[in-house]
């Protein structure tokens, strides 16, 4: 269904548009990161910004993540609103102290007197054979640590509204965007991520999951790329008369447990799809949200479609075996029914 006034954007463009709009109205907003100025970001999400705002506010940095993310914390505490990019979430290892010991805790340590209004945007996800240091999601790793909000848009509309909300938020926000949703041709793009995105600024409220497909028989909960796998699996299952409901978490911190619970209370069955590692992560947390609340709503044991607890392999055959897919979700339904 194409509307006459439809304005389809990629997530990359939606992110850049939100940043630009906030920069026009708030002189405290500035951007730092590797290859974000001249190149416009390896994943396109800062394209056009240096042309409009110049190099004082759009800063290419050295490959010094501890330095510039720590610097963002200091600048944020001093009244600025930095947006910084960690090119791949996988690189968090070289700068995590600035993130989880400073950015995430300084508000608390100061008894609420220091605000750290900054956005850390970072790319996630595999599927194109970039191997184990450039393909991780690490949603659970970031969401586990208190003191920072964590958001994971699955489409351009949410991407723009969440970026605007993130910049305006007085708390630090980790904004995790999946590479396969960016709309960069060289990464092969999930078309469903590019959707109508209004030109005027707006926000998408954090902590609100969204039912992106209504159904009766099973709730499929996912985030980012997994939402698109879930929608495809749902379309497939529908052919055999199954009616799946799909919930897009959108925000991991704060997590909208109510929407998950309400959906599972209705369907009685739960499949969680997460491209992050299986154990100690989002999928377990979603299941716990249901079972610790009211186990009686479940008609079957919940199923998880996740990445195994192993480093992400390079070879295509191995990586495809490794990653969630619509077919694996359909299989999970089969296991659930059989059980």
């Amino acid at each position: 269904m194409t509307q006459s006034n439809e304005r389809k954007l990629t997530i990359a463009r939606a992110m850049a548009e939100a940043i630009a709009q906030e920069m026009r109205t708030d002189p405290g907003v500035f951007v730092m990161g590797e290859d974000i100025a001249t190149l416009g970001g390896v994943f396109g999400n800062t394209r056009g910004l240096v042309e409009e705002f110049g190099r004082e506010r759009i800063r290419d940095t050295p490959i010094s993540e501890t330095g510039f993310i720590g610097a963002a914390v200091g600048a944020a505490q001093d009244g600025m609103r930095p947006v910084v990019e960690l090119m791949f979430a996988d690189f968090f290892g070289v700068c995590f102290d600035a993130i989880y010991n400073l950015m995430a805790k300084n508000t608390y340590f100061s008894g609420g007197k220091f605000k750290v209004p900054m956005v850390l945007m970072t790319s996630t996800g595999g599927g194109y054979s970039d191997a184990g240091q450039h393909s991780q999601c690490l949603y659970g790793t970031f969401a586990h640590l208190p003191g920072m909000k964590v958001v994971t848009p699955s489409n351009a509309y949410d991407a723009k509204g969440m970026m605007t909300a993130a910049i305006r938020d007085d708390s630090p926000v980790v904004y995790m965007f999946h590479k396969s949703l960016q709309g960069m041709g060289w990464l092969g793009t999930e078309q469903g991520a590019s959707v109508h995105t209004p030109e005027e600024d707006y926000t998408v409220e954090f902590g609100k999951a969204k039912v992106v497909r209504e159904g009766r028989d099973v709730t499929i909960v996912s985030l980012a790329m997994g939402v698109h796998h879930a929608l495809k699996a749902a379309a497939e299952l529908e052919k055999s008369g199954v009616s799946p409901e799909v919930v897009d978490l959108r925000t991991l911190v704060p997590l909208d447990r109510d929407t998950i619970r309400a959906s599972v209370a209705k369907t009685g069955r739960l499949i969680v799809v997460d491209e992050d590692y299986h154990s100690f992560g989002v999928s377990g947390e979603v299941i716990a949200s249901v079972v610790e609340h009211d186990i009686s709503v479940l008609k079957a044991a919940p199923q998880r479609v996740t990445a195994p607890d192993a480093p992400i392999p390079y070879a295509r055959e191995m990586e495809q075996f490794f990653l969630p897919s619509p077919a694996k979700i359909v299989d999970a339904w089969g296991r659930m029914k059989a059980a």
Binding site: E34, D35, T38, L39, V42, D60, T61, P62, I63, S64, E65, T66, G67, D90, F91, G93, V94, G127, Y128, S129, D130, A131, G132, Q133, H134, G185, W186, L187, G188, P308, D309, A310, P311, P313, Y314, A315, R316, E317, M318, E319, Q320, F321, F322
Partner: protein, 328 residues
């Protein structure tokens, strides 16, 4: 210290091997990626960082190394892997993601590991520094000979790991050498826009480590500087820092539009391609005649085509092998 004829022949042949290898990989990489360039497609998927233009650094340094010496390389590792003596067949197979690859297809082009010649990589910038320093420490503690060399890019000298590891190496007087390949770019960011000093060799002073800068991407000069550093390390006199001016003839990775390069830069770099330059100098100085050069070039070609054939004809890994080799 000047290279012997035999060393020069090895250096030239190795440079040509690396270049032919990458030219072949470049062509195959584009198979299945045209007209639409999608990294996930084709016989070689994923990112591809070519080292062509930077071969002199690899051969000038590795000419002094033995099998037992240690090398850590980066996301751009082919030239160093070849110069260190990594098995070319199994390296090609790894890049193709085949079961016969160095790591059975688990690592790919950014993660080449070959214990036979003590070679390892890190796809995270500057993270080869710590492991190389640690290997040097291990040799010292075990009383075993050996030198450890970490190759990094000039962009990596702005990463904390570089500085921490340099200080450790100096503090413990380890047989360690850091070789910085200054191709003047870190993806799209020029060295002058990322680094507060013009040359990274001066940063050795912060740790009491002798630093030299080698100009001109010149295999002879690199050989000389590396020879001094390796001799110091073997004599127990501690670490050295070498920065080498070199050129990245390709984009950062394949598919890079290189819009950030000033006009004319690429053409100027190709005019200074180190391989024809070395060939000419070998002839001019009588270090090799045309027949000898042809022989070295033919051998390089043969090794490359054998490696590519080996990779192409190798089987794909079993998908479920993704879950093996996680723990020792």
């Amino acid at each position: 210290m000047t290279p012997s004829k035999e060393q020069l022949h090895w250096m030239y042949e190795t440079m040509v091997t690396s270049r032919r290898f990458e030219e072949t990989i470049e062509k195959i990489y584009l198979e299945g990626k045209q007209p639409v360039f999608n990294m996930a497609s084709g016989p070689i998927p994923g990112e591809m960082h070519l080292s062509n233009g930077q071969e002199p650094v690899a051969v000038g340094v590795c000419a002094h190394l033995e099998k037992g010496d240690i090398v850590t390389a980066t996301h751009r590792p082919h030239h160093e892997a070849i110069a260190k003596g990594v098995d070319l067949n199994r390296m090609a197979a790894e890049i193709f993601g085949r079961a016969t690859g160095l790591s059975g297809g688990r690592g790919g082009h950014m993660h080449l590991f070959d214990p036979e010649v003590n070679f390892a990589c890190a796809g995270i910038i500057a993270q080869g520094m710590g492991p190389a320093v640690g290997a040097a420490l291990s040799r010292k503690m075990q009383g075993k000979p050996g030198v450890a060399v970490a190759f990094i890019g000039e962009g990596a000298a702005n990463q904390g790991a570089f500085h921490e590891a340099m200080n450790l190496a100096a503090l413990w007087k380890l047989p360690f050498i850091c070789v910085i390949e200054d191709n003047s770019w870190g993806i799209s960011v020029a060295k002058k826009d990322s680094t507060a000093v013009a040359r990274n060799d001066v940063r050795g002073a912060a740790y009491g480590v002798p630093g030299v800068y080698v100009e001109g991407n010149d295999p002879w000069k690199i050989f000389e500087a590396a020879g001094d550093a390796v001799a110091r390390a073997r004599a127990g006199e501690g670490p050295s820092l070498i920065e080498v001016e070199t050129y990245r003839l390709a984009g950062h990775f394949m598919g890079d539009a290189e819009g950030y390069r000033p006009k004319g830069e690429k053409e100027a770099l190709f005019a200074r391609d180190p391989i024809p330059a070395m060939r000419k100098r070998l002839l001019d100085e009588g270090a090799a005649d045309e027949a000898k050069l042809k022989e070295l070039e033919a051998r390089a070609e043969d090794r490359v085509s054998a490696a590519i054939d080996f990779a192409r004809s190798s089987a794909a890994p079993a998908p479920e092998d993704a879950l093996t080799e996680i723990f020792a």
